[in-house]
Amino acid sequence: MDPVLLSRIQFGANISFHILFPTITIALGWVLLFFKLRYNATRDYAWMHAYFTWVKVFALTFAMGVVTGVTMSFQFGTNWPGYMETVGNIAGPLLAYEILTAFFLEAAFLGIMLFGFRRVSNRVHTLATVLVAGGTTASAFWILALNSWMQTPAGFEMRDGVAHAVDWWAIIFNPSFPYRLTHMLLASGLTVSFLIAGLSSLRYLAGDRSESMWKALRTAVGVAAVLIPVQIFVGDQHGLNTLEHQPAKIAAMEANWKTGGNVPLVLFAWPDEATRENHFEIAIPNGASLILRHHAEGVVPGLDQFEGKHPPVLPLFWGFRIMVGTGVLMLVLSWSAAFFLYRRNRLPQLLAYALVPMAVSGWVATLAGWYVTEIGRQPWLVTGVLLTADAVGPVAGGHVALTLVLYLALYAALMAAYLGVLVHLALKAAKQGDPEPRPAVESRAMSQPAKG
């Protein structure tokens, strides 16, 4: 098999597996901080029970993120040496700042956040939680700055085939960065909301009616119900930004083969690149023109403009629809759950059953969205600067294939173990309910009462 394609699949598999875990930790850190602050304000120990339940998930997820992240730092060199050779002067500092400011902040204070509750003062423990949550978000900032720069490069010049930085402000705040960062942070918030809502519903179905379960569930559903309309608006803005800077990506997402006005919104189709048309098409007339140009005659770019140099249509078309479809499902379920929880103070059995599988809905939507934007950049690794095929390393295809198979086997086993442990932790918490409150927490250092 083609080493370029194998390397792409391997890198794709590694980074897909990796991104699942930061997507959770970025927002879960802030949710934990919220639980902690609610406890500090109300002294209601149920908030601390919710904190302790979810901090275990945070620890496990963080560990998965760290070990799969180490893999990423090696993969640039093992699979894509041409990448750093060409754009290293720009990617280097961005990656370096990610490692320095963010990674260390998280990793060092994580110990205190996880195991330090009875060793430092309550205030220092809250501060450690703030620093870990801030660190994960700073990580996202730098990584998305680099990824957005690869999509819409700016602020550099080419000298002898090597990119050199001219304007760092323009590099970091490149045209697609603000949209992509906002979109990703909201995605993280939604992923965590539905994870907490799903596992809390599982506890509910297992007979758990504890105060900490209700608090976590209400928080999660409330956050989800607020974030999802914001996300839909931001996603639309991100799409308009892509239309401006990467029109070929939009044309492929919409499976629109011909440039022109009155372009329909294709709901269902099987795009065929050989004949350059859609089979089994179901479409809303003028839909795409209305969404992208905000009037029916609006001219929408089609794939005919980019023949031979546009990304593959099928994965973009379907990836986009899976993401949007999951988003609509999130909207319906979070708003119905919010209605029942906040207005009727109960959770209907049927809704609880529907929320359990939604625990992984954030993962589905996030991965589908990333596939759209990353495959949508092909055939470029850095748009207009470096072709993916030119960056691949001189490693034998056999080695890549062998390691790919082993990675996939390992990841499948780890995923099974991870989900198994999440369910196990939820059911264990459901069985225990809220144990007797522990003695109050004091603000003097080294003053927490011993465990038990």
Partner: protein, 334 residues
């Protein structure tokens, strides 16, 4: 050699990278070593061993990311050459680190009948990661050769490094534990030192024979004169440590940290010796530090950030070790 920024910055970056590697080897060395010693411990001892490193290992492993990151961002060309040449051992290392890292959490959170499985994963992950690191070191010393001799030499350095890590792990346990486990750790340290000494002797004999360039570097006159303190001091420290293993633990637990500090010093001396063997090359005999470096302006930005952040990291790492100082107790989230 003129002293200007384009000359200095790559040198500073190489120094920072070397320091990050050394810190990683010492800090994650004891984590990995404890993983290797897992095979010889009983169940309650395993829990105690985990809690002696639980709050630290995340940050310790991050030093590897910093080291590889600096190689990636400051010497992009070298990163590509070295890591494509070491493709398979890197893969083994990563799988080992993944297994080791997730086992930390899974063993405590998975249903209790799965615990033994994750304990096994923790041991296997730590051992393979250590062997892979040693193997990569060996092959790198030989200039990234691929022949059967290089593979054998790599395996030798792999076993040697794994034994040295086990010694580090045992020394950390002497500092962090008490009672039965501490006595056991002293015995572990003694056996690990035997293997480490054998391995280091073999590597010291093999390296100059395998690489004439390194032979000239070490045994030419007058270098041999000012390099001789390195092996002599290392040997003295080694001997001192060996004698210590018959006297520890001392009444009142005095000098419990000394074995660990001694080993860290031996590692540092060995590292200086290695650095001397290669300078000024970052890929042996192929690319010098300056040939492989990024643009001066990019290096300046990276190093400016490093200079601000590293002292902060050192500060709060120190704070974290103080918060979790003393003998390890049971770890708990609440």
């Amino acid at each position: 050699m003129t002293i200007d920024w384009p000359t200095l910055l790559p040198l500073i970056a190489a120094g920072a990278m070397g320091a990050a590697i050394l810190v990683y080897v010492i800090l994650d060395g004891f984590d990995l070593g404890i993983g290797i010693l897992f095979i010889a411990a009983d169940d309650p001892q395993k829990d105690r061993m985990i809690s002696s490193i639980g709050p630290f290992w995340d940050a310790n492993e991050t030093w590897l990311v910093l080291a590889v990151g600096l190689l990636l961002v400051a010497f992009p060309v070298a990163h590509g050459v070295i890591l494509t040449a070491l493709y398979l051992p890197v893969f083994v290392l990563l799988v080992g680190l993944i297994l080791r890292g997730v086992a930390f959490d899974f063993r405590a959170k998975a249903p209790s009948h799965h615990k033994r499985r994750w304990d096994a994963a923790f041991f296997i992950g730590s051992l393979t990661a250590s062997l892979a690191q040693g193997y990569m070191l060996g092959v790198y010393v030989l200039g990234l050769e691929t022949g059967a001799g290089a593979v054998l030499f790599g395996l030798l350095t792999g076993v040697c490094l794994a034994a040295a890590y086990a010694a580090m792990g045992a020394a950390w346990l002497i500092y962090k534990t008490e009672g039965e486990l501490q006595k056991k750790a002293v015995a572990w340290l003694r056996s690990a030192l035997v293997f480490t000494a054998l391995g280091m002797a073999a590597v010291s004999v093999a390296t100059p024979l395998a690489s004439p360039r390194i032979f000239d570097r070490w045994f030419g006159w007058p270098q041999i004169l000012y390099l001789s303190p390195l092996p002599i001091v290392s040997a003295l420290l080694f001997f001192q440590l060996w004698r210590d293993t018959f006297r520890l633990p001392k009444p009142g637990d005095r000098h419990a940290l000394r074995p660990f500090l001694t080993l860290a010093l031996i590692f540092a001396l060995g590292f200086v010796g290695l650095a001397w063997s290669f300078y000024p090359f970052v890929v042996p005999d192929r690319l010098t530090i300056w040939q492989a470096a990024s643009a001066t302006q990019s290096l300046a930005i990276i190093l400016g950030g490093t200079a601000v952040v590293l002292p902060v990291i050192a500060g709060y790492s120190f704070y974290s070790y103080r918060v979790f100082g003393g003998k390890a107790g049971d770890l708990s989230y609440d």
